[in-house]
Symmetry: C2
Subunit: 462 residues, 2 copies
Amino acid sequence: MTESLKDAVRRAAALAIEHLESVERQPVRPKRDADSLRAALLLAPPARGCDVDELADRLASVMAATPVTISRRFFNQLFGGADPGAILGEMVVPVLNNSLYTFKVAGPHVLVEEALIRHMLPFAGFEGGDGAFTPGGSLSNFVAMLVARNEALPGTRERGLDGRVGVIYSSAEAHYSVRKAAGMLGMGRQNVRGVPVDARGGMRPDALAEAIRADRAEGRVPVMINATAGTTVRGAVDPIDAIADVAAAEGVWLHVDGAWGGSIVLSERHRGLLRGLHRADSFTWDAHKMMGVPLTCSVALFRKPDILRAHLSEVATYLFQADGDRLNPGTRSLQCGRRNDALKLWCGWQLHGDAGYARRIDALLDLARYAAEAVDADPELVLAEAPQTANVCFEVPGRSSAAICERLYDEGLAMVGTGEVCGRNTIRLVCVNPDQTTEDIDALLAAVKAVAASLPAEDDAA
Amino acid sequence: MTESLKDAVRRAAALAIEHLESVERQPVRPKRDADSLRAALLLAPPARGCDVDELADRLASVMAATPVTISRRFFNQLFGGADPGAILGEMVVPVLNNSLYTFKVAGPHVLVEEALIRHMLPFAGFEGGDGAFTPGGSLSNFVAMLVARNEALPGTRERGLDGRVGVIYSSAEAHYSVRKAAGMLGMGRQNVRGVPVDARGGMRPDALAEAIRADRAEGRVPVMINATAGTTVRGAVDPIDAIADVAAAEGVWLHVDGAWGGSIVLSERHRGLLRGLHRADSFTWDAHKMMGVPLTCSVALFRKPDILRAHLSEVATYLFQADGDRLNPGTRSLQCGRRNDALKLWCGWQLHGDAGYARRIDALLDLARYAAEAVDADPELVLAEAPQTANVCFEVPGRSSAAICERLYDEGLAMVGTGEVCGRNTIRLVCVNPDQTTEDIDALLAAVKAVAASLPAEDDAA
């Protein structure tokens, strides 16, 4: 048995290396439609199995057809690039295969999580607080909303919502996961207020206070304010400190969704963008975005010590048999069986240290500023706004941003997407891969212009 | 950059192989307490990073101290062993790093998921139904409960629960995730009925029908019946067909939690245990348990086509820009960014085929029967009951099961845990690793007896 496992490990390494080399040769894979892929690849699970040579061939075919996210031509999402430390850690996880619910079966990995959370809490100003790894930013926001709901509407966990209406306040440009979670939590999507934003995309504290008062006047219970640190399209950071004033005055839970921009707390130069974060009650921080850890690696942090257990623990004598709750993270998780998402982050942190991550954040934000200046200096391009973090939104006047992005991908030049800024559909360039250089930015902008020139003009391209 | 990534891949493979060899030499790692591990390992993320040699050393130290779950001496959880096909697939995931929300960035991996779900649905009798990968069985149960809640209490997603009380029916021996999810969904943990079980641990349909009628009489709304296919401790399968009669008569959503035993549908010999499954509305099936895929790999299946989107989709023009909802699984997921949990299962299925998985299930259930017969034939041991699936619960009369399990681990003989059966705390042996042989069972039972003999007698050892 061990021999076949060792063989599998060696084959995985060979395929991974072949993939890395192919990315260097071809940083954007040819675009393929679903039907052609279905026809070309043997996707259906078979009645009878194949041998491992054949499996490796089939897997190689799937890998060769996979859109490349780790190359310097990928600007499409809030993740990108590849980190050697994190990849080293992630690749050994399947042969370990520990479930992170108990110390008995996960041992030091429980302590790896503990060390990471303890180390991350002070960056949020939450020394001594609580925290948990979750499978992604949406579920980190969800667990924060769950705790906020139960705190604002006592008895909900045991008895249910019983007619009380709780309201969530989030900016009109916040991530959809907040509205989705309100639907999941039984609070109702329509009880999420889309608080108006200012010209820079930040939530308006005056409008927030007004919305809270209006709900209170009608008997609804304000449950949580969600401030965003790095909105999805514009990278805007809500004015957390001013929002914290409202939260304190109104006695409402303050959550900061830093799924995208939360990692900025690692940078001494830039952490002032999140001023007031230490006054929040909870904080979502995705390490799989600006920190370059493979998907997914998200942490929900809480200011109050040991708060998660009260909202999540269950009695399960067949599972939690030893070592006490503190060492059994299953008592403070949304999940029961849980994969090890922490080891990759731990490996990345060992390799880079706080200092390396700070340099990384600085480099990303510098690159975004470079891109914005290059756009702004170019008479053929229009910058939507100066970037606040790592998102650069711009247009080619008279040309459809969506058509440009599609053509860039069709021609194998780059993967990049669009986003709406102040009613205009812009090209959203995301600087999240520190291997990208100013030359990569120059090349992208040149490609955008060349592609745009080949497209028909539109009256109002937005 | 590519060179350092290739180096990381090679080091990961070397560490993984070293780990596999060490497991062969030492199938149970010496037990370590948390304080000694904290003192021995460099766990805290450092201010300054280290080089990759040092990182590999630190990682190796953590790996060496990690409890081994893949060896033939591990009987402690509902997972175990290691599968070459699945490990091959899982190890390449981090260098691909696609988020499974859109076809644009995940390409063929969306189709891999589609092919797997299409292939799995008929095993449940849900041809043409819907399905989604989730991060574990608890969240598969959660998403089924979410859909059932919204269907039974229309308007909940938009307006919230507004005073209506929904009730969930689950057996007294079902997994805790159902009660936990009721708390999360705003329905209240106390609105989960622990329906009494019969002597074999199966939910009593008569008691179920009575509980539903009692709730209806008091104005509460029955939302979902959760039948379990493979309870955590006893491996009991609720009488799904008889429960489906009640569900049909009462018009209540029927969910089958097959997180543990769901994979039995792969076996022609044993799938009769789940008779009536095709009448259910939803089904949780974890591939990371009986199918041996690394953690986590769970699927929630639904009988009704295209049902998930109505309960989970959100408008997000910055994300869902192309290819239509069908090809963008983010529109039917609890998550936004989502790691690729499907590729490992796909690789396992290519290697084993339906036929190989059927043989695997048969082997596991045969091994459990062997173990039960060996216990039953041994005058020093008492079998709690004949196993229904792959759990074998037994005692050494006059000795504490918990103390025996602890001593087995202390002495490096085996990892195994306890579970309560009919008020007795038994040793719960789980047969989930097909590499285990009858010799491994014999060795475990001999170790249990030797250890028990060294322990003091107790009046009532339970």
